[in-house]
Symmetry: D2
Subunit: 426 residues, 4 copies
């Protein structure tokens, strides 16, 4: 299914007057409104291939129907998103869930939808049917050299798939760790993991990045071998300049100050990527901005401030690295992604509203109340019209979810694909 420009313009017509009223007001209030619209128009985010189906918890899965049955249909789904927002401009594949058997065709198909290929993701946290060794006790950390080699080889294979598609980075997320005290020699686990990562790094093209993701817990419940930003940074520094840390919002201990971590990683030149989602208790993988939207704004504020001196890391044409990583257990996955994208756009726009000169000035004067006023002034401003205008100018929907529902997109997908489909993923 594809959404036509006519469908979009018909939809936009009915909201146009109302939108224009809001936009005019916003322009009268926000000095850099036009600049913000331009930034939003340039903004791009990757959609992971595994976010297009219904997610599950260990207690079960409640499928929703019309899920993509293969990589082609996943690309089609992201194409639908892109048609609605022009921000979901890339797809991030997961091997082996999305192994492209004919990369040239896949690449052409993606191009038809205007999509690039973001980071490729390896999987050594599950066993595959045809696999010689099990990852039950870890992969890159494994005490068994042969198992480590199998995992390294898989990662090298993933890089090759990525090269074929035009990806420029490999994300390594390891579930490696231990469930019980005593199970692991922490030092050896670290050293084995480092050795394995070095072998993968050696196979990385020069213009690629290796993104080392960390996670505090789950699925291992006593220790994780890459458990926090400090450990990830240790690995990245020991690996070399192509290695970076990847931050996933849900992968922290309770109450961690993620925006400070972001700032320090940028200071060290080692922030390589971001997985956006939201959570209340653990790695809940909820819709971006659904639980702690102010935290999201504060993180974007650090990003926006941090990139002023560097090349902008999250605009179109860059090496991407910015992805939504949520799991849609009870919402329509595409609607959930549309909500996530909008939450990110809003946080980004608000961060662009911050009067950074006044903020630095308040900081220099230890004017704490004023610093808070400056941030909250930006955060409390309604920027939805700016975000909508960016969509309008890129021939997208003023109200993506509403159009999605009006066009009965999901019903169409169910008709074509069936109601009992199953997308690969968690």
């Amino acid at each position: 299914m594809q959404i036509s420009k006519e469908q979009i313009s018909n939809h936009n017509e009915q909201f146009f007057a109302s939108h224009q009223n809001k936009l005019n007001f916003t322009f009268s209030e926000v000095e850099n409104a036009e600049a913000i619209i331009q930034k939003i128009m340039q903004f791009s985010i990757a959609i992971p291939s595994w976010a297009l189906g219904t997610g599950s918890t260990r207690f079960g899965r409640f499928p929703g129907g019309g899920e993509p049955r293969n990589l082609e249909e996943k690309i089609e789904d992201v194409g639908l998103l892109r048609a609605l927002d022009k921000t979901s401009n890339a797809i991030s594949l997961h091997i082996p869930w999305d192994t492209p058997t004919n990369p040239a065709e896949i690449k052409t198909l993606a191009a038809q939808h205007g999509l690039a290929f973001d980071a490729v993701n390896s999987n050594t946290f599950q066993d595959q049917a045809d696999q010689k060794y099990s990852y039950k006790f870890g992969s890159l950390q494994n005490v068994n050299k042969a198992i480590r080699k199998q995992a390294v080889d898989h990662n090298i294979d993933v890089i090759k798939h990525g090269i074929n598609l035009g990806s420029k980075s490999l994300t390594v997320w390891l579930s490696d760790g231990s469930c019980f005290p005593g199970q692991l020699n922490f030092k050896k686990a670290f050293e084995n993991t480092l050795e394995s990562l070095q072998e993968i790094y050696a196979a990385l093209p020069d213009d690629w990045k290796l993104l080392v993701e960390y996670k505090a817990f789950e699925p291992n419940f006593y220790s994780m071998t890459i458990g926090d930003w400090g450990q990830s940074l240790l690995f990245a520094n020991k690996l070399g300049k192509k290695a970076y840390t990847l931050v996933d919002l849900g992968h922290h201990l309770p109450n961690a100050n993620i925006e400070q971590i972001v700032s320090l990683l940028m200071m060290e030149g080692k922030l390589g990527g971001f997985h956006f989602n939201d959570s209340k208790y653990g790695d809940d993988d909820l819709t971006v901005g659904s639980i702690k939207p102010y935290q999201l704004f504060l993180i974007f504020n650090e990003l926006t401030q941090g990139i002023q001196a560097n090349n902008p890391p999250f605009e179109k044409g860059s090496n991407f690295g910015w992805m939504i990583d949520a799991s849609h257990n009870i919402k329509d996955p595409l609607e959930d992604l549309l909500q996530s994208v909008e939450a990110i756009q809003i946080a980004y726009a608000q961060s662009l509203l911050v009067d950074t000169i006044a903020l630095e000035n308040a900081r220099e004067n230890n004017d704490v109340a004023q610093a808070q006023e400056i941030l909250q002034r930006a955060y409390r401003t309604d920027v939805r019209a700016l975000v909508a205008e960016a969509r309008l100018r890129t021939e997208c929907a003023l109200s993506p979810i509403q159009l999605f529902r009006n066009l009965k997109v999901r019903e169409n997908l169910v008709n074509v694909r069936g109601s009992k489909t199953f997308a690969t993923g968690l």
Copy 2:
């Protein structure tokens, strides 16, 4: 020091055009704008007497100057707040920090400032110089009947002070608990506490409320004898219909869903009061809305929904029970309170924006994405003009903090009171 109507109207004049532009737009967008303004105008919150000086942590205190040196100056300070926002309409006293030696005069003074007396607060978590027994091992829970009696008598004494001033409720917050496993027989501690509370309850006038506050930890670090809403509700139910649970936002274990607790307590008819603040790690006592403004909105959403069937519990003329309980370690206490009040007003206004019929409809249809859209539509709306208009109509400042600074209120207070004053409190 007092702020004159002329000073306020001069201030408002310069912002008037800009305000009117925002207000007009908001009226064009928000159907019930006028009703929201009316609600905000009726809204009242109490300021605790101990929030007017610089707070401390166990590591130290950094005083700020111009702090109120006695109860009269505390009333003066709340009077300043009220002049700026007409929402800080009551003061909540803490005995013995604010024992009124001449209640009639104090009452007259408060009335001159337009202030009522909200809940009175007892203190059995510190030892006073003239006290016979120590509360080192608890007060109402103490294994020693004589110590319990001393604490009960103190509470009865606090009630008497409250009667003299026109208060209608007593808030009991106990630090009682234990620091080490084994220290306490939990059952006996509960039973002793219950017996003590029953004696206090017996001395309560018929038209008073007993507000039983709970806290998860600190200053006791192994157990708290009234540690969560479940325990508080047990006490309230065993005491009788004048006893209620009081919720302080900072008094929960990490990640607790406070809005659900609020909803259940309202369902049981036992939500008696609220202490507003914000926090990231524990009972941080930060400015309301400074860390998790969306959570604040969600809580107000439950309150607003819950009070539709009952008498509104937090409007002027009611029995108050709504208080800011923050500690201002590094901000000017009055500026901090102005920020807190505005954060509460904004959250309240946003909750009034929620389309409750559409929300219930979405819930009936398990339309989770739509339910989120409805809440976030309200939350993302900029309601600051409505809040400002409520101030304007009540002869208050369009921009309270700016006026506070322009009038050099703090400098004035320092001139009068000195820079090394010390307000009683933590």
Copy 3:
């Protein structure tokens, strides 16, 4: 496979001298050693049918081989445990995972293994193939009366299965709750759940218990409709005297004081059951005593103290209610259960060692250091010889895991059942 008495006595022979040396010393040190042995011999715990296979996380499952393929083999597995420890004397079934098609035969089989049937467990957190309505948006809380009825009917059906087998209690654990703010009307969700529970309660035989389990989060990640002990107790009180609260160690917010909850529930006469496991981060379902053994001891200390005035709730012949609820992702499930049982026995024995008179005396004198000394004196005492002696006297193994390995039990099970079996469960 069955373990013969001869195999056990051969095994015990080699350890006997060493054991006797330890036992003699323990008797010389522990005054009530004989009484403790008796208590351990009377102690019984239930094994849940779903703990006999490899558990999984949402990231995958690493099967171990030789898993029971049906209810008969599950009973066989618990029979093996019982042969080794005479403490795993009951099995707790989960419907529909273990629906007994021929209850009479199942009952006979269990009796042959010396096993009783503990609480039966319903499942409304997953959809079954033949089910009319989905529980995607909850079961007993559902906005749809027909879905609630389906869930109620299932629970009544589970009671019937239980009656056939001789169970005396139904455990209701609900995953009901919400993943996103706005999704649920908390009050209606509570009321619907209450109504549903009342219908189940009405179908409960007079000599049965209804155990209402609570959980703080997962699989719902914003709210749980029975989320903490306060909510569970509200339900239990509204239901009536056959309803009790069930405590699962892993179902709390971080840092919760579970031993205090246990004490208060016993005070209220509403502690109905216990699910033992251990955890570091969330509901990790790790081996009992593997992370926080001192907490386990403190909980048992409350239990032991609490039951002195009542009938002992966890000894043989009682209504059981004490169960291990762990998930064995990376250990052999039977070895894990042997470790869990021993950890529980040790904690129980240590709690029986506490000098309760001296402890109460220290408490009456606020002698906090002494109270700690008394608890830690018991906890630091090595009671393994007493636990082993209880096994010896009941014709069980001095060293169960060692015997399990020496007899190559798992290898035997793999030979019979195959290495690719799959036990129903999570």
Copy 4:
């Protein structure tokens, strides 16, 4: 007051037979019993000067009487501890709380008690009366260069005091951070702190260590500028080889795996020191081993394993760096320290019991259940007789707390010093 050898030997006599019985049994069970006793005899730990008085929370302080009124009396107190356990062999001073006005005399006094001087501690988290600038908004991070210089100069001054007394390390714990979003430019705060630390480092003698302590939160409640081990290690690495990370058990986010952090820091050669205490919720500063004794054992297990390849860092004659950092709000401070020392000795002894060869073997075979068995076998062994024997052989008390009480040490101190004394500290 001093405890005589005769008092000790009289005390020991009455317990001797019972002790000998336990010791004999332990020798019969524990192969390396004699080696463990030797290790315990060589073990040394520092007592911080601020732990000798009653601690406080922000809610108040309940003094206990007989507290040391000056540095001389603090040394006397640690001398008492050392007389009882020969493990509390050093004192760690805090400037300005314990500024030695006559270092030569202080040194002599300490030597008379057999005490060395461990790390000296600076204080830039409080303002002193004679101080030019306030640390309200931070010290080493401050935006004001003059304030940073004042803090740097203070640290250099502390080093000088330390040199006079024979200390070999400086511990820098900063409360620097922020309470509100926006307050701090994280990058600048880091860079300012680094610059300040570099200036301090430059003043450090060649044979000294700079110990960089981290803390997750409190007294700053939004961010801490040295907030976790990753940040501390960044600083230590940028500073040079005399700089190390110091771990305080209570300074972590909930559920952090501290033993893994310890292992990684040892791997990096950057573990410089340890502050022992225990906690349930935050930085509760409770008696060591009173809440999570198994965690303490696991940490010691990493230390014991980690130091096999290096020089033992925590034995007598080494550069110390091992300290108890607890706060004794409701226990007698000296009794609390005796309990803490014993808990540490027990954990250390148990770690020496671990069969490391078998453990590594189990790890190489992914025998998780066996690895747990090996650790818990050590942990469940009662090693108190070995610890007591180490005391006996060093002419100390078999039962320190009992002797402390029998000799009425506290009553004696109250008689000499009075019941309303106040020791400097928190």
